[in-house]
Every structure is written in C-alpha cells, then in structure tokens.
Symmetry: C4
Subunit: 195 residues, 4 copies
C-alpha cells in the first residue's frame, strides 16, 4: 500500500529524464558548421519528435489515470515499474531506428517497444480498476477500452508491415500517437465533473 | 484538465535536467593538466553561461506565469510540451555553436531555437490567458506583452545578422537575456499584492 | 533535524536518475540493422533487468520505511546519503559485469556493491528505529530483520562463489531480488492498519 | 517573489542530477575483467567520494537555510541560480582532477570551484538574511558566520598550495568537508525548538 503521490512523483521523474536523455542522441557534427551538416541528423530529429510525443502522451494519460485512484497496492506498484521499464528502453529504440535510417528490423523493434509499453499500460489500468471494483470510477471511465485495444492491434500490424514497408510502419506509429494525442476524454469528463 | 501542480513539477524536472545535461558538453582534456588545456573550452564555457541564464529565465517566468493560473486544459498542456520540446534542444544548439567557435550557421541555428522557445512561450501564455477570459488576472498582467514581442523581433534580427556578424548576433542574444533577467514585474506585482 | 518529505523527494530523484542512467549503457549498434546486431547486447539487457529490479526494490522499501518515521536527524541523513552513494555505483557495476560477459571479478564486484547497499540499508533502518525507541512502530515492524540478515549472508556466499561459478552467483543475486520483490509485509501491515 | 517550495524543489532536482551525473565519469574498463583493471579508476573513485560528500553537504545546508525563510525575492532567486551554476561545474572539475591524477592545475581548479560555490552560498545566505531584517531568525542563526569565512580562507590557502603540494591541498578540501559534515548546528537548534 503506497500513497499515490509518491508513485506519481517517482514516475514523473523517470518520464522527465527519459524525455531529456533522448537529446543526448544528437551527436553534434563537431566541425561541420554549415547547414548541410545537419542533414545526417534528420532521422534522429524525426524519431526524436515521435518519441517525445509518445512519452508526453504516456505522462499525460498516466497522470489522468492516477487521478481516479486513491491508493496503490503492491501489484499496481510493480505493474507501474514494468511500464517504466519498457518506457526506459524507448531512447535506445529511438536511436537504433534513427542510426539505421528507419531500416526494417530497428523499426519493428521500436514497434515492439511501443507494443510492450501499451500492453504494460493496459495491465496497470486493469489492476488499478480491479482494485477499486467493477463499480469504481476508473473501471467505468475505462469501459471496454477500445482505444487501448485498437492501439495494440495497430502496433502488431505495423511490426509485421515493417519487414516490407518500414517507413509506412513508422507512419502507423505516428497515427496511433495522434489517436492518443487528445487526453483520455473518458477520464477527462470525470475530472471535469469533480472540479 | 490537470491540476497545475503536476504540470509544474514535470516541467521543473525537465528544466533541472536540461540545465545539468549541458555540463556533459565539457569534454575533459584527458591528459592536459595545464591551464592552457582549458583554452579550447572557452567557447563552451561562454555558451554554457548564456544557455544556463536562458533556461534559468524560462524556469523563473514559467513559474510566475503558472502562479496566476488555477488549472490547465488539454491545449495548454500540449503548448507546454511544445515549449519543453524546443528547450530540450538548447543543449544541442549550445554544443554545436561552441564546437564551431560561434560560426555563422550554428549561431543562427541557436537563435532559431531561442525564437521557437520564445514563440512557444508566447503561445502558452496566450492559451492560459484566454482560458481565464480577457478579464483574467494573467490576461491583465500580460497586457500587450511588449517584452515578448520585442524579444522575438531581436531574435529574427540576430538570426539574419549571424550570416555576416555571428559574434554580435550572440551579443544580441545576451541582451535579450538581460531584458528578461528581471522576473516579469507585471506578474510580480500581482503576486506581491496577493501575499 | 529535517522534515522527512524533503529527504524522500531528494532520494527518489536519485533513484529515478540511477534507474534511467543505466539505459545509457546500451550502446546502439550504429550500422547493424539486423536482429543479430542485438545479440552482443544480451548480457547488458539481462544485467539491466536485474539492476532495474534492485533499484525498484530499494525505492519501494525506502518509501515504506520512511512511512513509519516522523522526522530525520543528522545521522539518519548521512546514513541515507551512504546508501545513495552505493546505489549510485550500481550503473557502473552493471556495465562492467555486462561488458565482460559475467566474468568472475566483475560479478563479485557487483555482489560487493549489493552487499554495501544492503548493509547501508540495514544501518539506516537501525538508526531510524533507534531514534524512535525500542517501542517505536518501525522498531516493532523490523523485529529481528531476518530477511535483511539472510540477504547479506547470500551476497557473501555469492561473492565467494563467483570465483568459480560466476553465473550461478548471478542467479543467487536474482533469488535475493525475488525475496525482496514483495514489499516488506511487516511494514505493509502497519501501513494498512493506519489507512 | 516566489514560494520557497518551488525553488527548493528545483534546486534539489539539480542536486540529485549533479550527484548522479558524476557516476558517468567511471568509464568501464571494457575488456579488463580482473581486479587490477580497477586500479586506474582509483583517482576517480577518491574524487567521486569527495565531490559526493560536498554536494551532499550543500544539499543538506541548503535545505536547513531555506527552513528559516518564508519567501524568496528576485535577487535571492538569482543568487540561488549562481550557486547552482558553480555546483553544476563540480562534475567537470572532479573528472579533470581525477583524469590527471591530482596534478597541480586541476587540483587548483577544483579548489576554485569549491571557492566559488562557497562564496555563492555566503551571498545567498546574506541576501536571505537581509531580506528578513537583522532581527530575522536566519540572521541570528548565521551570526558572524565564522564557519563560512574559515572555509573560504582554507580554500584560498589550498589553491595556492596546490602549485607545490597538490595532494595535501586535496586533504585540505576534505578537512573543510569534515567541518561542514555536521549540519549547521546554529540552524539545527532553531529547527529543533520549532518542532
């Protein structure tokens, strides 16, 4: 049993660090001082934007989800660490994908990381909802969780697709990001009513 | 809708990390143990000071701005992430500029980053002010936002100037920093009255 | 004398950074874009999981222990820094062990770090319990601290064993992690009763 | 004017990052898996301990000082950033000193960093005390600040000494650390009375 504030504080610390650590990928072109010295960085820049948006989405939804929970038990705590574990590998996946100009295996690996993050998030949400009972606010707010299931499905499609069409697979990742871009309105409505 | 405390905590975490990550730029002269081994680090040191002051200013004004806001909606949240995105690129811009001894393109690129940060800050302030209505405290405190507009103008001038005069362009960046060095007195007055 | 909130906040910041800094170990295979380019990373991945779980356990138990304490005196403060010092060396130990494919000396060194962390944790718990008196809640919750003593014993055995059997020694480290995986039920019970 | 909580949170974030970033200095001996592969790391280890203790002391005293202050004005805020600026250079100074086996110039440079940190701390304490008036609790708690002045004097002596005797200069740094190891009893007494 843990007060949810601490778990949130720790998680947000990890989010903040992950988002900033990715900047270290940008290896400065030491003695290239013309604009075209930045061209080799384009894949890094594109994948940085994608990962930045993803971590931002998880941070945002993570906060919303915890809003409806009063305390955290042991299994939720480890489910949260499991989510942070896969999120912490995002900088690695981002760099590998960028360093190989969106080649098929790194793109599929990046999708695998997104799939594991998405799965861990679903598990965490389930545990938190079950903890509060079927009648709990979070359980009602999540409902059948169509958005979550759809995302996982798209990830799987994109991972398979990456073998022949790695760049369109990346576009699929970006589309899922767009789906989640708007904070979870189901929970947002609950929060609005409370304030 | 998000309690402003969490957004501030996350943002300040990112600020703290950005400010400290820039120290990693200083590549230690491994076996140069005389004072002149530090000479090649001079541009890094100068640009570190400039960026440190800039991040400090954003941190400071970011806090002041949030002081007048009671809650954060979805668009403010993403405007905030947009600001953090450009701020997170400051360490890269700083290193590129320093590694090339203030050559024209990296100096212009650094100015571009400052311009995007400045623009993102203006957008965030607008969204927060609009959210509270024209009558809101923040809307009144910001007024016509002359300081913000002037900064953006100077950045544009400096970016163009960098093509022929990169070092004076850097001095212009430093002048804008001086303008902002004093915390936003318009908001400071409001805060003082409240306490 | 220090309010415990600040000490926790600082400690959790350090925990969050340690856990994320270990990701920097994963050197991206720059131009290997096939799956077998990840094979050399296997030892890094395995040791990353082990260390991630260990830091997670310390974070978790650290929080639980502080739950029962009302304030922190000078010696507890330095005992806490002593614990953070050894924890901060975990990323180094992890990388050394992984880079040498679980060779005997690095495995023993990793065990030594775990032993020092475990010892520092025991010292911190003792100081906090003594501060509250024998009758204190923490003192009662800890009791004879069999789990703590057993862990230290297994570490010593594993360190000696590493000389001939480094991989089984690693398995012993993982077993201790499993023992601690479940949050300290002695304290958990106290917390449950209070809420 | 800023609520002191935010300034503390930001500062402690920077402290936590500085303390952990120094671990990145330890370059793992990639394929040296015997104990003597650690010998070249000895100076890094020694200087890491010294810097770790110093940052720990600043964190501790920083907290104590803020305990007696109710709010922060603009000049205190920049004095605080000035302190963080010099503290943020400690990892660089530590690595330079270690990489050159405590050669005279890096040792003097390290002492210079400590001197600037110490000076910035004195300035910050003065501004905070003046803000509250001569009668303020902090002003009384600080008194004539003998410990602070003595430290600065020893730093200057050690910096000069480093030219001929770099290792004894390091010992002087360690002695100052010992002086500060015990949290500021003048303030500790005040805090104790309040609780």
């Amino acid at each position: 049993m843990m007060r949810k504030g601490r778990m949130e504080a720790f998680s947000h610390g990890v989010f903040a660090i992950i988002i900033t650590i990715m900047v270290l990928e940008f290896k400065v072109p030491a003695h290239g001082h013309e604009l075209n010295a930045l061209i080799p960085l384009t894949p890094f820049f594109l994948s940085y934007i994608l990962s930045f948006v993803y971590v931002g989405i998880y941070w945002n939804n993570h906060h919303h989800m915890h809003y409806l929970v009063s305390s955290i038990n042991g299994s939720a705590l480890w489910a949260n660490l499991f989510l942070l574990f896969w999120l912490s590998l995002i900088p690695f996946g981002t760099e590998w994908m960028a360093a190989n100009h969106f080649a098929r295996v790194p793109v599929a690996a990046y999708g695998f990381l997104l799939l594991m993050c998405g799965g861990a998030y679903v598990i965490l949400a389930r545990i938190l909802a079950r903890q509060g009972g079927v009648e709990s606010e979070l359980a009602q707010a999540l409902g059948s969780d169509r958005k979550g299931k759809l995302s996982l499905l798209i990830y799987v499609i994109a991972i398979v697709m990456a073998w022949w069409l790695p760049v369109p697979a990346c576009i699929l990742y970006a589309i899922v990001a767009c789906i989640w871009f708007i904070p979870d309105t189901r929970i947002e409505k609950k929060v609005l009513k409370d304030n």
